[in-house]
């Protein structure tokens, strides 16, 4: 074996050992920094019906994200993700207009989540709601 091929062999071997060690160190690091399950990410959220006034919006955490619940007409409830579909700001409810406004870039959404005006490309994400006695089951 001449010098240059021996040197190449050594470089490749050292590179392989280094890459293996880097892999061994990277796995714990990746696991350490990965988001931890917070629980309730698949579950339903129960909200007392009395908390949602007619024409008012109730903001709450749903599976780790902000969501909004409103009584559109008496006895008819709707829930949406409160994250604007444009750039991720949190929408506001304008009770006097009966619509949502995104304060970042003036995106407007109707009370059924559809885009009325502004830059949002999609309607708000709809979350299923069911009435169970005095409670509302979201999700």
């Amino acid at each position: 074996m001449d010098v240059s091929s021996r040197r190449k062999f050594l470089i490749i071997s050292l590179g392989a050992v280094g890459a293996s060690l880097a892999g061994v160190a990277a796995y714990p690091l990746f696991r350490y920094l990965s988001p931890q399950p917070t629980g309730g990410e698949k579950g339903r959220v129960t909200i007392p019906r009395a908390q949602v006034g007619a024409g008012q919006a109730h903001f709450f955490q749903f599976r780790g994200h902000p969501a909004v619940l409103l009584e559109r007409t008496p006895g008819v409830f709707a829930a949406f993700s409160a994250i604007c579909t444009h750039l991720g700001c949190i929408i506001r409810w304008l009770p006097e207009k009966g619509e949502f406004l995104c304060p970042c870039h003036a995106g407007r959404f109707a009370s059924d989540g559809k885009v009325l005006a502004g830059p949002p490309p999609r309607p708000l994400q709809v979350i299923p709601v069911a009435v169970a006695g005095d409670n509302l089951l979201v999700g």
Partner: protein, 366 residues
Amino acid sequence: MDLGKKIADFLDVRLGVREILEQNLTKYLLPRNINSWYTLGAVLLTLFTVQFASGILLLVYYDPSTDEAFRSVQRIMNEVPFGWLIRTVHAVGANIIVLALLMHMLSVLFMGSYKSPRELTWVAGFLLLLVSLGMCLTGYLLPWSQLSFWATTVATKSSEEIPLIGDLAVRILRGGAMVGQPTLGRFFALHVMGFPLVFGLLALFHLFCVRRVGISRPPFGPEWQPAAPPTTFRHEEHPGGIPFFPHYVAKDAAVIAFFLALLLGVVFFAPGLFFPPAAFEPADPFVTPPGIKPEWYFLWAYQTLKILPSEFLGLAVQGAAVTLLLFLPFLDRSPERRPARRPLFVTFFLLGVALFLALSVWGHYS
């Protein structure tokens, strides 16, 4: 032409990197009789890199409040995947670093490498040791365990004996009359920002001094002769020496591997070595656990305070020892570095090491 060569050519045309690499690696010659003790600088650089990386990772989950600190550390140890590994590496790493720092300091003392023209290298190195001990002391409080709380209470209380400003010093260190949230806040700030910043600047200066003055030649062998202290700046060259790369880098890598193996050996096979039972209980300011003692590297100081008739005398002795070591190159001005020709120094050196060990063992068992 392969990509690596293209990138190297690109950088070489613009920054002359090949010349820099040659000057600092293959054409950087070290004395032929250089020994393994000279690798401890590279070992410490590696260990501190591990320590900084693991410290930054711990910051992701650590919460520096008295209500949450202990719980957040428990969470890191028991819930976060591989949190136990990161935290144990950090805690054990601190101990291995102190061991390597002491070995580095003792080898420099024994070989007289602190002497002219390397006084500034020594002073910066010794200050690095003190800052490292500061990082150990401040880091000890952060888990907010019984051990942390009471070790810090005892350590900060000893400053009370400083004449005139003792009470003020304790209150400033603690941020109040007792160890509490203000203490945790300031120790946290010092541990993660203050000391590392000072450490980084000192380490840069230390490395600059080492490179600028040149590596000292080990004072062994028939050809070594003491030289008169220089009157003008001169970089110490070693013509005919061994190249730093690949020869000495291989030796550096071997000793670094040894220290990393020691670190991981303790982490995997004796993870509880530096965690007494009081480290697993949350801090309780109303219950002092029995037998609280500092870490092994502070035991000599702890025992000195115990055996001397007054705490003031103990502090004075410790202060004198630290000051003597800091300014040693300005006191010991003889150009002779061969240990066999420095019987008085070697006697004091051995007595000093023996005293450190004896006080530490005594402190541990007392």
